[in-house]
């Protein structure tokens, strides 16, 4: 007796699962950075255009394929054409790479969350050196939040060559993160369906609390004004459009096979067209929402640092010239500086190297993305708020929810094809398969907890998924439109959702999206070729800042292997099927 396929309890679970997967850390830490770099409010124009041209059609395509074929990525593409089963395998390989390094972020979120229960927060002040006379030098040169991130959390080595040992604290947090993921995927859709209610909705609650708090912070308006003033001249910069396209592409999580996996657990008559539109709109709205919060926090942090800088200069001048306290203020500072220079030229000249030019713009201009934004900038802003423990707990809990939501999608992309395959599912129950996948990922993930682990993390983050995904989605679109046939696909959709897709979808699938992906692909390749050697940012403890270094040859080999191993699946699988069929035909002709 065939086991019936597990289903979502109701369509809401499916929508929540997709939202929980798509709305991830990239919405919080990449979109605000892009907004700042490419024209503030003006960036929304290429962003929305790319959403309409690329995001919604490709999302609808993947959901429809999954819902119709009712199998994971490998089975679905095999059904479309046996030569294309490599696409499914490539998706699984990329998902595997992603889940290896992505859960390390959850481990870091756990680490910070557990450390938020202290008063004062451990990253609020620098620790003392051994004889208690001053603060630790590395911490003085950098800042306390950077010190906590680079030294206490990562314990990072000066370069990727020095591997160091596994940090047991991080390793233990990583194991906890994997246990949490295992708990959520243990029972398949039964457990995942309940968990996504939490992982999809809680981040919005926290973002709302943060929005209210952030808008009341002193100086938040500076950040918002800075962000939303559109610099429309950036629209002429092709990088703005390319980054908008890339952001939409990766933010929705296309090509990993997770969307196909989620959709395969749907009822066959589920209206995936409406769901695709809803999910992509919610994803983009969340990005804008998160960037409002982020820029308020930027504004607060920049204003705080600016005022600190001014106060330091005032103190320096007051002490040097023994002026009365309160004589120098922020308003009369410039005027008084000129007066002092006129009256005491010699002493003033001696002080000149220490007097910094404080500028609010310079503070706002420091655009940060990625782990730097999430763990350094945000924690710096949080430590200056009142009741900082509460906000810290809320924030890192939100990061955790976002990260786990995305992990559920990643693991679903790996597990659905495995549990679909008859060979594995007859021999092992799905709990054991999930357990084995989690265990392997955890063991490999321990490499990211070594001292040089963050450098390897950056390699995986930048190269494991980017190029391969573009190719995978390109092949997917071409396969559905031209190999499977657009008319056949139309008829299938008509059967599923009750009406044929409109001309907008058809044009996007057949022409616009493939062309866009090809141009993105070409851009990436030329960018890699033009930059020559790849470089990375290494933390220099003696200077207390990041320095640029070249990757050693074995790291470049790993990068090449990462990209090649997923891309090669497509032609190799096609070749394998072709050879198998030739052998079968010869075998038959021999018998006949």
């Amino acid at each position: 007796m065939e086991k019936s396929r597990p289903l979502w309890d109701n369509p809401l679970q499916f929508v929540f699962a997709c939202i929980s997967y798509a709305v991830g850390l990239g919405n919080v830490w990449r979109f605000p950075y892009l907004c700042q770099m490419y024209g503030g409010g003006g960036f929304l124009i290429p962003y929305l255009i790319m959403l309409i041209v690329e995001g919604m059609p490709l999302l609808f395509l993947e959901l429809a394929v999954g819902q119709h074929m009712r199998q994971g990525s490998i089975g679905a593409w095999k059904t479309i054409s046996p030569y294309l089963s490599g696409v499914g395998v490539a998706s699984v390989v990329v998902s595997f790479f992603l889940s290896m390094y992505y859960n390390v972020i959850n481990a870091w979120a756990f680490w910070y969350l557990f450390h938020s229960f202290q008063n004062p927060l451990p990253w609020a002040a620098c620790p003392l050196n051994s004889n208690h006379t001053a603060y630790i030098e590395e911490c003085e040169k950098a800042s306390s939040t950077q010190y906590f991130w680079y030294r206490k959390t990562l314990n990072i080595s000066p370069s990727i060559e020095e591997n160091g040992s596994i940090q047991w604290e991080q390793a233990v947090c990583l194991i906890l993160a994997w246990l949490t993921v295992y708990l959520c995927i243990l029972r398949g859709t039964e457990s995942t369906g309940k968990v996504v209610y939490l992982t999809a909705s809680l981040p919005y609650l926290v973002l709302l609390i943060y929005l209210i708090k952030a808008l009341t912070l002193h100086g938040a308006v500076n950040g918002l004004v800075y962000m939303f003033t559109p610099k429309l001249e950036q629209l002429a910069n092709p990088k703005a459009w390319i980054n908008a396209a890339t952001q939409i592409f990766f933010s929705l999580g296309l090509g990993f096979g997770s969307l196909i996996a989620f959709a395969s657990y749907n009822e066959p008559n589920n209206n995936c067209e409406r769901h695709a539109i809803i999910v992509s709109l919610i994803n983009s709205t969340t990005s804008v929402f998160a960037s409002i919060v982020t820029f308020s926090i930027y504004g607060f942090k920049a204003t705080f640092n600016y005022e600190n800088c001014l106060n330091k200069v005032i103190l320096l001048l007051t002490n040097a010239f023994d002026l009365e306290e309160g004589f120098l203020t922020a308003d009369n500072l410039n005027h008084m500086k000129e007066q002092l220079m006129a009256n005491y030229p010699n002493e003033y000249v001696k002080l000149l190297p220490q007097i910094k030019n404080c500028s609010l713009e310079a503070e706002l201009d420091t655009a940060v993305q990625g782990t730097g934004l999430a763990f350094i900038v945000y924690s710096e802003a949080i430590k200056n708020m009142e009741v900082s423990q509460l906000y810290s707990v809320l924030y890192f809990f939100m990061l955790l929810m976002l990260g786990i939501g995305s992990m559920l999608g990643n693991t679903a992309a790996i597990l659905t094809p495995l549990t679909d395959s008859k060979f594995l599912s007859t021999h092992l129950p799905k709990e054991v398969i999930s357990g084995i996948v989690c265990f392997i990922n955890c063991i490999v993930g321990l490499t990211f907890t070594m001292k040089a682990g963050n450098y390897w993390f950056d390699i995986f983050n930048d190269y494991a998924a980017t190029l391969s995904l573009l190719l995978i989605v390109l092949v997917e679109t071409i396969a559905v439109c031209y190999v499977y046939g657009l008319r056949r696909f139309e008829k299938d959709l008509h059967l599923m959702i009750g009406h044929k897709p409109s001309w907008y979808w058809k044009i996007m699938w057949a022409f616009a999206s493939p062309l866009l992906i090809i141009s993105l692909f070409i851009f990436y390749i030329t960018d890699y070729i033009l930059t020559g050697t790849l470089q990375y940012q290494a933390w220099d403890a003696t200077q207390g800042q990041l320095v640029t270094k070249d990757y050693p040859s074995y790291a470049l080999a790993v990068i090449g292997l990462l990209v090649a191993s997923s891309i090669m699946c497509i032609p190799l699988a096609a070749l394998a099927i072709f050879i198998k069929r030739r052998l079968k035909r010869e075998h038959r002709s021999i018998i006949a």
């Binding site: 756990f110 450390h115 001053a134 708990l183 243990l186 023994d322």
Partner: protein
């Protein structure tokens, strides 16, 4: 008599000027930030406050040991500015016309720094003795790091959840394996009931071995009752 007093006074003031001046040997500069520390409650720095300061330094020297006979008059203050900052030096009462060495004064102040700060309602930052390094208070470290405690709690909860789910999954599977054995008993009962009643409960038919046609995609469809 008056001339003698005048001479003594002038000697004292010159000695004062000789010992206590900026960058003199064994002299220290003190800098106070009253408005920063106390805001609106800041008191004005006047002669009485200076007297208290001299008393505290004399107290520190007495506490320190060898200078048990330090008097308030041994502490000399000069160059008071609006900042409020001034220089002070401690003269040695036992030996004439000398000042107590720098190291001793420094050690004495460091020992009683907390008392001195509290007398003026200030702290190490707002009452600075330049060139006397302050012992920074180490952050209080609890015996067990708090993060480990929270980690332990969360870890145990999650492991408990996993074990619960796995065990209930195994139990459910055992129940499913037992049911085909039970259905045979129920089947006999049903055949007996069929003659009595009309319809059979639909669940029974689902438990019987049979093939579910994959062509009908919705697997929740119930078979129509016979």
């Amino acid at each position: 008599m008056q001339g003698f007093l005048l001479l003594a006074f002038s000697l004292v003031t010159t000695a004062h000027a000789e010992f206590c001046r900026p960058d003199a040997q064994n002299a220290f500069k003190v800098r106070l930030s009253l408005k920063t520390a106390l805001g609106d409650n800041a008191y004005a720095w006047d002669a009485s406050e200076e007297y208290l300061f001299k008393a505290m330094v004399a107290f520190a020297m007495r506490r320190y040991s060898s200078q048990k006979t330090t008097q308030i008059s041994n502490v000399l203050l000069c160059n008071v500015t609006d900042r409020v900052s001034f220089w002070f030096v401690v003269t040695d009462s036992s030996k004439n016309a000398t000042t107590v060495p720098r190291g001793e004064v420094e050690a004495a102040i460091r020992m009683t720094r907390n008392r001195i700060n509290n007398a003026f309602l200030l702290n190490d930052r707002t009452m600075q003795f330049l060139k006397i390094s302050s012992t920074l208070s180490p952050p209080t470290e609890p015996s067990v790091p708090i993060w480990l405690v929270v980690f332990g709690v969360v870890f145990c909860l999650i492991v408990a959840g996993i074990i619960f789910l796995i065990v209930s999954g195994i139990q459910q599977r055992k129940k499913n394996n037992k049911e085909p054995a039970e259905t045979e008993n129920l089947e006999e009962k049903c055949e007996a009931t069929v003659t009595i009643e009309n319809g059979m409960p639909c669940d029974m038919l689902n438990l019987k071995t049979g093939q579910i046609n994959g062509g009908y995609a919705a697997d929740d469809e119930r078979f129509t009752p016979l």
